[in-house]
């Protein structure tokens, strides 16, 4: 598409907006928007016909640029992997991750992936499933189910984490764990909402897996209507987290409130996805400013928590959410890429949301504003700050009419970093815009280098990158896919 001069003018203005402290996230000055994707397509690739991320009305997404599908299987779900093994977790009953099954896929031959054995039953769903592999151990966790994946084609069930059943009266859906993450050492599992930690150092002994509830110590450090309640109760030795462990009428028995409103006033969300720095001494979490909680915390915040001593202490924060959140290191500095979820269509099509992306920067990053991922420099937690933004033109204000006309709602969910300790790219699940690869080696100016859009990726599919073979394993609404990074992109990324 040829840009008109008026549009270019708007883009120049947009590009001049610098990051500002406050409630919204501004477009980075160093990331000019060109309208079309700067991705490096190869021979035979099918470039997007319009602007970056656009699927024009009446078209079916079938675009790829810099990424080729080399194989697929009809499994749709969340994806994680290790070595030549990939795990795809189906949706469970009611499209929830509860009581679902994980397919074990042998990708030794990437063009002929094959399911191995019977699917693994997993319980107490978490939005994502995660795998952590170190020299000492290889662990996969989904909800409460813990597997040893040292023999990755034959996961061994080690036990179930005894997540408490936090509840709100009248709400049947389980809300713990909501999402999970395993630390880099594979010794602890962390869960949201709030902050829960389970030590699985002794992987073979599930009885030793103790659940620690850190919601209260963190809530006491967060401004909001809950803060004094938690500060004073902890000071009095009457923490609500201890109270929660007792059965009624002595305690709350993990009931979070007499109503959803009470629960939101007592318990800040403060986390969704979780991630860690290189040595697991810091935890990064971000809230979403959604639902009733959004009333009390309308501006999303990503926070940094020191895990080296107790009580765990917040040592820094930056603006922006954390539905999807990934730590990485590049150029000797540390960063977090973090984003919210859902957009104009994800909120049951409220008429007023259709024109949300027309809102100029800086704009909200609350739930329903999952249009861009923020990159924050967290090297010095006390001075953590937003430095860049991974975004696509279709979500920029200048193209909001085009977006509306397309009838699509490209929004973020999760992302995958190729190598957190030496990052090159982020593969971002961008909804109707498909999977988008951004070069993040200069985090202040993420640049798209490739994309694959044959259908919206599964919301909670994180994916897995096989660095040896330069393969990305992912799932969209049509099924599990093996994507090959094309040579020109590899070269560009220095892979």
């Amino acid at each position: 598409m040829v840009l008109k001069s008026k549009t270019l003018g708007a883009l120049v203005c947009t590009a001049l907006v610098a990051f500002m402290p406050g409630t919204g996230i501004a477009a980075p000055a160093s990331t000019p928007i060109t309208g079309t994707s700067p991705a490096l397509c190869g021979a035979g690739d099918r470039r997007e016909p319009g602007i970056q991320g656009e699927v024009p009305s009446g078209q079916t997404a079938s675009y790829n640029c810099g990424l080729k599908a080399i194989a697929e299987l009809p499994f749709v779900g969340a994806v994680a992997g290790t070595g030549n093994c990939v795990y795809v977790r189906d949706r469970g009953p009611g499209m929830t991750p509860d009581e679902s099954k994980i397919h074990v896929i042998d990708v030794t031959n990437p063009v002929k992936p094959a399911e191995i054995g019977e699917p693994l039953a997993v319980h107490n769903g978490s939005e994502t499933l995660r795998v952590a592999v170190t020299a000492q151990r290889a662990v996969m966790v989904s909800g409460s189910s813990v597997f040893d994946v040292s023999d990755c084609l034959h996961p061994k069930r080690m036990g179930e984490i005894a997540w408490p059943d936090t509840s709100v009266p009248g709400v049947a859906r389980k809300n713990l764990p909501h999402d999970i993450r395993i630390n880099r050492e594979g010794t602890k599992v962390y869960a949201s909402f709030g902050l829960w930690e389970i030590d699985i150092s002794n992987l073979a002994d599930p009885r030793s897996w103790k659940v620690n509830d850190y919601r209260c110590v963190i809530a006491a450090q967060l401004q909001g209507p809950w803060q004094e309640i938690h500060k004073q109760s902890i000071e009095a030795g009457r923490s609500l987290c201890d109270d929660a462990t007792r059965k009624a009428p002595q305690g709350a028995n993990y009931s979070m409130g007499g109503s959803a409103l009470q629960a939101s006033l007592l318990w800040p969300t403060f986390s969704h996805a979780l991630d860690f720095n290189a040595d697991d001494t810091r935890l990064y979490v971000g809230d979403q400013a959604g639902g009733t909680s959004g009333i009390w915390s309308p501006n999303t915040k990503m926070r940094i928590i020191d895990l080296t001593k107790k009580p765990y202490t917040i040592i820094g924060e930056a603006n922006g959410p954390g539905h999807g959140l990934d730590w990485f290191r590049t150029g000797g500095r540390e960063y977090v890429i973090h984003s919210n979820e859902t957009g104009t269509g994800g909120l049951k099509a409220k008429p007023e949301t259709a024109r949300r992306t027309c809102t100029p920067y800086p704009r909200s990053t609350a739930l329903g504003w999952g249009y861009e991922a923020i990159v924050s420099d967290v090297t010095n937690p006390a001075s953590a700050r937003n430095v860049g933004m991974a975004h696509i033109a279709i979500n920029d204000p200048a193209f909001c009419d085009t977006r509306i006309a397309s009838g699509r709602d490209p929004t973020l969910a999760y992302h995958l970093i190729d190598d957190p300790l030496d990052a090159h790219f982020a593969a971002i699940n961008f909804g109707d815009a498909g999977l988008r690869l951004f070069d993040i080696r200069n985090p202040a100016s993420p640049v798209e280098v490739a994309y694959f859009n044959h259908a919206p990726p599964v919301h909670a599919q994180v994916g897995y990158y096989d660095a040896v073979r330069k393969l990305i394993f992912m799932s969209d609404a049509q099924g599990f896919k093996v994507l090959q990074i094309e040579p020109q992109v590899r070269k560009k990324l220095g892979l």
């Binding site: 109760s233 009457r238 009624a248 009931s255 007499g258 109503s259 959803a260 409103l261 007592l266």
Partner: protein, 500 residues
């Protein structure tokens, strides 16, 4: 030790001790020397002929004795019905209470007593059924209306011998998981005009202006607006919720899962952090433009508000606005006017032997804590100017004086206050104070800075929540102790002293 020798020692010690304290702001309340009634060991009450004076210290029942003392008031009639007492004119009302049990029967009926002949009180008709029990029940009589309210039940008592059931107000079922005992209503009071009923804990009112139009009775939950004005862990929560138009009091009215359906929390601890107690026994100024509410600093709530406070709220506009506060609890609370100024008599409940909440002990020097269990003294506070409300004196008994605590311990004395009754709130002369093992004690409160005991009656412990009634025309006090309903005559020398 002989009584005479001990009295002398007590007198000297008490004076020395009392002289060492002054009124201070803070969690405890003491009295400056001039403000304190001089506890001279024995009661200064004016006994009449035939009265049986206490043998020793004021309020003491020596070991081995059964309380059977009176001084300045005489028993003229009685009935074997023990319970809470109210009255109007020649009618008294008794709602029985099982003193032996941990909790009273939930819905004891109310007996109507004809006391036209005070020497021969008689029960009239069948007891009146009442619902949703409150700790006290109350009678209010104005020129326009006369009503009796117990729990949710309202009777028209214009014909006081033959109350007429008007109906029951709707009271929501505040609940806590696993707690089967009703937590609401706890206590109540009718305003002076008889147009609104105020309920605790928290503050709720029901407008019954149109007494015979039940559909017009409107329940208003003021807990959230008050909690947002009271310092504590709950304050920021309620401020934020109210400001956002998401009051927890509105949330409470909605059924699950839209709202809490009046669940006050998920545990007693959570409930105490969200909801300040605010009140136990409310009372009002002369024209019902101010409501006085005192908490108790007890149970879990004590962790967040360890010092009992009594607060003054402006009820002339919504939301009710906090105007002032004074130290001291409000289990029993009565407003009165005397000498052109306005006062409160307010107190907590329970004392030694320990109620199990802070080990109340009369050996504790003054000033003492004011939390639940520390009801050895009552507080008189000047509330004429709410913004400058302040304690002016305490009501004490010698048996509760720290220097007499070994005696109190030996005798297992529990001379602690529960409720009180003012003879005429608009022109007060005396307070009849329900003083536990010390019986009913009558204090001259015309000079509130120096309350002086004028009479007492102790034939047993008064019923905890009996407030009583004073028939000014005949100078009769209707009340009940564990032995039953009693009609007491104020003796002439006391009437003369009190100017009644």
């Amino acid at each position: 030790m002989s009584n005479g020798k001990r009295l002398s020692q007590v007198s000297q010690t008490a004076l020395a001790v009392l002289g060492a304290f002054s009124l201070v702001s803070g969690g405890s309340v003491s009295a400056r020397p001039t403000a304190h009634p001089i506890v001279e060991g024995s009661s200064p009450a004016k006994c009449g002929k035939g009265d049986v004076r206490e043998p020793a210290l004021q309020g003491e029942v020596p070991v081995g004795q059964t309380a059977s003392y009176n001084c300045g008031v005489k028993l003229v009639g009685q009935l074997p019905i023990a319970g809470n007492v109210q009255g109007t004119g020649s009618c008294a009302y008794i709602r029985p209470r099982n003193q032996a049990g941990p909790t009273p029967p939930p819905n004891s009926p109310i007996y109507v007593i004809d006391v036209r002949n005070p020497a021969k009180p008689v029960v009239v008709g069948e007891p009146l059924p009442v619902q949703n029990r409150t700790e006290t029940f109350r009678v209010v009589v104005t020129k326009e209306r006369a009503i009796l309210v117990s729990g949710s039940t309202i009777y028209d008592i214009k014909d006081c011998m033959h109350p007429k059931l008007v109906g029951d107000v709707y009271l929501p079922p505040n609940t806590l998981p696993g707690i089967v005992t009703k937590t609401f209503p706890h206590d109540m009071r009718v305003n002076r005009e008889g147009t609104k009923i105020f309920y605790s804990f928290g503050v709720w009112d029901v407008d019954i202006t149109n007494l015979y139009d039940k559909k017009s009775w409107k329940l208003t939950d003021h807990r959230c607006e008050l909690a947002a004005q009271i310092t504590g862990p709950w304050q920021a929560l309620h401020q934020a919720a109210n400001k956002a138009g998401r009051s927890l009091c509105v949330d409470a009215t909605k059924p699950v899962p839209q709202g809490s359906n009046y669940a006050v929390g998920t545990s007693p601890l959570v409930s105490s952090l969200i909801w300040p107690q605010v009140s136990h026994s409310p009372d009002f100024n002369a024209d019902d433009t101010r409501v006085y509410l005192g908490d108790q600093a007890g149970g879990n709530s004590k962790s967040w508000a360890p010092d009992a406070k009594t607060r003054i709220f402006d009820t002339t506009k919504s939301p009710y606005k906090l105007l002032g506060e004074v130290n001291g609890g409000g289990h029993g609370l009565d407003w009165f006017r005397t000498g052109g100024r306005e006062y409160l008599l307010h107190s907590n409940e329970h004392g030694q032997p320990a109620f199990g909440d802070g080990d109340p002990d009369s050996c504790h020097p003054l000033p003492r804590p004011t939390s639940l269990g520390w009801a050895m003294e009552g507080f008189l506070s000047d509330v004429t100017d709410p913004a400058n409300a302040h304690n002016v004196a305490t009501l004490n008994l010698a048996i509760n004086d720290p220097k007499n605590c070994s005696t109190a311990h030996a005798e297992k004395s529990d001379a602690s206050i529960a409720f009180h009754m003012i003879d005429d709130a608009l022109n007060a002369h005396f307070a009849a104070v329900n003083y536990g093992t010390a019986g009913l004690r009558i204090f001259d409160i015309r000079n509130p800075e120096k309350p002086v005991e004028a009479a007492y009656f102790n034939h047993g412990v008064p019923v905890h929540a009996q407030v009583g009634y004073y028939d000014a025309a005949r100078k009769l006090i209707y009340f009940s102790d564990v032995g039953g309903f009693k009609v007491l005559q104020v003796e002439p020398q006391v009437a003369k002293q009190l100017g009644i």
